[in-house]
């Protein structure tokens, strides 16, 4: 019997050696192929855009060529218009996030920890949540005019709900067994909160932040397009009035870029603070 199994193992080893690819080139090509696969579609779309505008399949008034968008970028960046508008838009977005996110975070923690507070406030907040935020734009303009406060108000309200809901949900769903264990080890008050409850709620809180960042840009864009005298949205709408399609496309691309940056930021936070979590331990 032992000699049989040894023989079998030997055969297997031979078979494996025969099946292995001869040079590493094949393996390298396979890895490179797998890495580049996600980029295949974007590159193809870009090529289609380039070709169809270059050979006149598409009227440049509807969709300008990539080169026109680039020259549009040079134009507005040289006059400083772009950087000025970008700074204003970013300031609005972050200001609204700080106000709405801060209040949502505080209320989420308060309601998560205090059943009395949750009874008092949660139903009301859940009702308000059902109002589509963009429907409030006319009202916000009536209340605050087209100044900064209207946009801050809308963004703050927009980011409030995802931050509030996920913070509240996260605190409420902390493993009760862990809290009970910590109590038997004498943890109470701030120690119990910072060592057990808050870290337990953090994955959910960061999900809320990620949603909030998405909503932040969305509300900002719409608010700036409807009523503003500065910002990327204003730049875009102004260009539309002048039929500068390349600037319009540039504005859209900048919004996409800002959204991606916000997403990367949220991802970075998750990688940093949820290292212990198996989902985030490995690179994506």
């Amino acid at each position: 019997m032992p000699s049989d199994s040894k023989l079998l193992a030997g055969n297997l080893a031979v078979a494996r050696k025969a099946a292995a690819p001869k040079p590493n080139l094949l393996a390298f090509a396979r890895i490179a192929g797998a890495r580049s696969l996600p980029w295949l579609l974007p590159v193809a779309l870009f090529a289609a855009w380039y070709v169809s505008t270059k050979y006149g399949f598409i009227d440049p008034t509807f969709l300008p060529a990539p080169g026109d968008v680039l020259s549009g970028f040079q134009q507005v960046s040289q006059t400083g218009e772009l950087w000025n508008d970008l700074a204003i838009s970013t300031g609005r977005a972050l200001g609204g996030l700080a106000i709405g996110g801060g209040i949502g975070f505080a209320l989420g923690i308060l309601n998560g920890l205090s059943p009395l507070s949750a009874k008092l406030l949660d139903t009301t907040l859940q009702m308000l949540r059902n109002i589509p935020i963009l429907a409030l734009i006319p009202l916000a303009i009536l209340w605050f005019g087209i100044g900064e406060s209207a946009k801050l108000f809308l963004i703050a309200l927009g980011v409030f709900f995802p931050v509030y809901l996920n913070t509240y949900h996260g605190i409420r769903n902390v493993d009760a067994g862990l809290v009970e264990m910590a109590r038997t080890y004498g943890l109470r008050g701030p120690k119990l909160f910072f060592q057990v409850i808050f870290p337990g709620a953090l994955p959910s809180i960061l999900v809320g932040l990620r949603y909030a960042l998405g909503i932040m840009w969305l509300v900002l864009i719409v608010a700036e397009m409807v009523s503003a005298s500065s910002g990327i949205g204003y730049m875009t709408m102004n260009a539309r009035d002048d039929m500068q399609t390349n600037i319009v496309v540039l504005g859209i691309l900048i919004y996409a870029l800002l959204g991606k940056l916000a997403d990367l930021f949220a991802y970075g936070l998750e990688r940093r603070f949820l290292r212990w979590h198996q989902t985030y331990a490995k690179p994506r």
Binding site: G177, L178, E180, M181, A182, R183, T184, Y185, G186, L187, R188, K191, Q195, V196, P199, G200, L202, R275, W276, H277, Q278, A281
Partner: protein, 250 residues
């Protein structure tokens, strides 16, 4: 942190536990019906019984997590309370905090210069090399060993265990039983283990208590010396008599 204050004389590192006429119901159901039990310092007692016999409820009362409806539980003459440093409870699940390293988990709730003590106890439980790891990458047996280290680092005088080995495979289980016994003999704390495994109960205990529908059905001293041979006729006789009692009820 635990233990002996300077100038205090204590006869035994283990605590004496006294349970007198304890009753506990949840709603209409009487879970514990008049339990009285006295446990000597340093004694190892196991409690066996069918699921639902009230053994976990009794342990929660002993840990101060719940209060009895009636009766008294005292530790060295003082009433039992929650978060007593002299009492530690091991749960069925390890309940490690996933966002803390193994070492930080062991040091939970400790103050002052706790790290050397936590490392020492990790060495005793054979997990010193895993001190910096997250609990998520440990096996079930390793997690329970960390939970054991966390329970023991403060040198408790009473260690309560609520089926902590129930979810482990047979080999890991036996290694853990050996580890618990070894540390118990070195530190001489009082130990109470709840289990549904009769062999485990007899292998570890000085005294086995059979809980039947919320009351003490049988008390059995185990006069065998350690290490115990689970194949010996004496061991088999004790195990058999408990099993017979448990099976008769159903």
């Amino acid at each position: 942190m635990s233990g002996t204050q300077p100038g205090e004389t204590r006869e035994h590192p283990g605590a004496a536990l006294s349970i007198s006429h304890v009753k506990k119901s949840f709603g209409e159901t009487g879970v514990l019906r008049d339990i009285s039990l006295s446990i000597k310092p340093g004694e190892f007692v196991t409690i066996v019984g069918h699921s639902g016999c009230g053994k976990s409820t009794l342990l929660r009362l002993l840990a101060g997590l719940d209060q009895p409806d009636h009766g008294d539980i005292t530790l060295d003459g003082a009433p039992m309370r929650l978060a007593n440093r002299e009492v530690r409870l091991m749960f069925q699940e390890a309940r490690l905090l996933p966002w803390m390293t193994v070492l930080q988990n062991v040091g939970l709730g400790l103050t002052g210069d706790w790290q050397p003590r936590a490392r020492t106890i990790l060495r005793q439980t054979g997990l010193e090399s895993r001190a910096g790891d997250w609990p998520a990458i440990l096996s079930g047996g390793q997690k329970q060993r960390v939970a054991l280290a966390r329970a023991l680092v403060g040198q408790p005088r009473l260690l309560l265990m609520d089926e902590p080995l129930g979810a482990l495979d047979a080999l890991t289980r036996m290694a853990m039983q050996e580890l618990i016994l070894q540390i118990w003999r070195a530190q001489k704390f009082t130990a109470i283990l709840v289990t549904h495994d009769v062999q485990e109960a007899v292998a570890l205990a000085d005294r086995v208590i059979v809980l039947e529908r919320g009351a003490i059905g049988q008390e059995l001293a185990v006069p065998l010396s350690h290490p115990r041979d689970i194949g010996s006729p004496e061991f088999a006789a004790l195990e058999g008599s408990i099993l017979k009692r448990l099976l008769r009820q159903h």
